[in-house]
Subunit: 357 residues, 2 copies
DNA sequence: ACCCACTCTCGAATCGATTCGACCCCGGCA
DNA sequence: TGCCGGGGTCGAATCGATTCGAGAGTGGGT
């Protein structure tokens, strides 16, 4: 039992056929007579051989049946952020036809995991990059160097890479316009991180925004409120929104009447911060989100937000990958957000004294 | 450019060294002089070689750096069920030290994905099986046949397989006792599926329960209410709980005063069904859950439930896998649920006429 | 009878790297 | 001077399967 595992050659020998024939029995890529099929199958059973070693098979055939999905740093984000979760669900759906497994990867090796699985070290047939990651460009380079089909979700990747996009800028502009039409003038923005490893902080105009989603949504908001101050959070979490909200309400920005948050989770945190400061939502301050997910414990608030088709995005990415792996060039797809008005926005309060400190 | 990709031999030739030396430069498994290191590195750069092909490397070295996580059928469950989500988060954490990627796998090939990635066809170094899957036994057999380290979360797998367990039976019994102490006698159970592919239905005593979690929790409930009828749902979803609830309240079971749901999501659905039937929770009927997750839109209810350390379970599994891959035998771990009383349970209503039809 | 077409099976090359023992060269030490 | 030890390099074997062209056998059509 502790002896070496049986190989297909062993099986072939036992069955009295050539290795090539035995291989064909398992892969079904050529006609095999019923009798040999049975002989090989039985030999395999006798030897406890359960099928070709995936490693060897993938080396020779050049296919591993694995699609890599690249996340930033902590893989947990894939599971803790509802938007990602939905996207993954769609993605799983989209690659189903291909029958490929989804390999969760980190975009850059980290100190505490020196030999982490990355795009360059993992046997993937194709990759899906998520543009919310700040290391998009590096990942892209790695993939291109290996000549692997790749699809980018939300992020610019050059002409030859299919992208699954969202009208981030337009959508965010729409919400901003809505706020303006409600009379808001003094608006602050709670943004997503500007790059990998970012710690929440006020944004300087000189700072290079390396995450496409952040940049595009910000541009949309700035289209309407060109000089709104921006606090970029460390991630799309309620807690980070809380931090951003505190920064916005407590110190730098007196008299803010509306906050544009770049995600629903951030918005939830901002609302909480507002309440901490004794501000009423939406009477004293309006808050908008982005994503259209269900946020736990936000009741009775219903965010004014932009509903994005997260699952559809994932599915489209999966389909694009499937197509490329079949040799069909895949087209880019652009999705549109739907504006949804909730009860977290209202007309701007009267300039004088509506706010109580 | 369309020519074949450079191999390590090409690099070696270009650098004027042997392939073995070039290999060592990349793997760092033997001392190399600085000058050759530089020569090889430069040759690689010149040829656009970004590192060894993972397929070939894993064939020879026997390690792929991938840990497989097995789900049932639709991969989406991994992302849509909050408990799984938390577990995955912990798991990602637990294997972080190993630096391995997580490969999402389905337990059995399905009709619409004939050549799906499964345990037998994927290059995994180790596997994590989740006992909520009905095909646990088959998966286990597949893994053992390949001689791969494996850890089972919630499920019995035999003596030689480390398991990450939960005191399902004891915990469920605790809740059942609580209900009994509140005076409940006529109790129904909304159970999880009994096997893969199960469609929601009343459970017959003869039915073989193939999913460990379901069986154990059921046993716990039956320890107290030995003849409570059981409706096994098709999955842990609010909608399925709704179906189960309707079945329980509308027809077969008059005068039910309490429902023990095997998951919080099911419980949420049951509550909804109760409301549909004009029953008040908890005045007319008590409902208990299991998991201790946050359920969207359940407010103002707070489930009486059992809080399980989902993230911890995942982390423990990850650590066990890591250990085994290092050659250290891993021990089984057993986690305990914590009883949490919410506002969905109350004293049983008076036998006569409290219920309004 | 002959030839063609078709079904099966086989051998040998190949996928791209890793590994292990052998080997060389050089400095240090008796 | 002779020997030992170790850093650094190299050859050759190996990992386990797939692939492709060639060849053997068989049946049918004319």
């Amino acid at each position: 039992m502790s002896t070496r595992r049986a190989t297909i050659s062993d099986v072939a020998r036992e069955a009295g056929v050539s290795p090539s024939t035995a291989s064909v029995v398992f892969s079904g890529k050529a006609p095999v007579s019923e009798t040999t099929r049975v002989r090989v199958t039985e030999a395999a059973a006798a030897l406890g051989y359960t099928g070709p070693d995936p490693r060897a098979a993938s080396l020779r055939s050049g296919r591993s049946g694995i699609v890599g999905v690249v996340f930033e740093e902590h893989l947990g984000t894939a599971f803790l952020d509802p938007v990602q979760t939905l996207m993954m669900d769609g993605l799983a759906d989209g690659v189903a036809e291909l029958g490929a497994g989804l390999l969760l990867l980190r975009d850059a090796p980290h100190a505490d995991a020196p030999r982490a699985a990355t795009l360059t070290t993992a046997p993937v047939d194709a990759a899906v990059l998520i543009g919310c990651s700040g290391n998009l460009r590096e990942s892209l380079a790695a993939v291109k160097a290996r000549g692997i089909p790749v699809v980018v979700i939300e992020g610019d990747a050059g002409a030859d890479v299919p992208r699954i996009g969202l009208d981030n800028r337009e959508a965010q502009r729409q919400v901003a316009s809505h706020l303006r039409s409600l009379g808001h003038e003094r608006v602050a923005i709670a943004a997503l991180p500007v790059r990998s490893g970012w710690r929440g902080a006020w944004l300087d105009d000189e700072i290079d925004i390396r995450i496409d989603v952040t940049r595009d949504r910000l541009a949309g908001a700035r289209d309407v409120f060109s000089d709104a101050p921006v606090f970029a959070a460390a991630g799309s979490f309620i807690d980070e929104g809380l931090i951003a909200g505190r920064a916005i309400f407590s110190s730098a920005m007196p008299q803010v009447t509306a906050v544009i948050a770049q995600s629903d989770l951030l918005a939830a945190g901002v609302i909480r911060a507002a309440q901490e400061s004794g501000l009423r939502v939406p009477e004293d301050v309006s808050v908008t989100g982005f994503d259209g997910i269900v946020v736990d414990g936000l009741a009775p608030f219903e965010l004014t937000t932009l509903v994005q088709p997260a699952t559809e995005k994932g599915r489209a990415a999966g389909r694009a990958v499937t197509a490329m792996l079949k040799g069909v060039p895949a087209a880019s797809v652009n999705f549109t957000c739907e504006f949804r008005e909730g009860n977290t926005t209202a007309a701007a309060p009267d300039e004088r004294g509506a706010r109580v400190d």
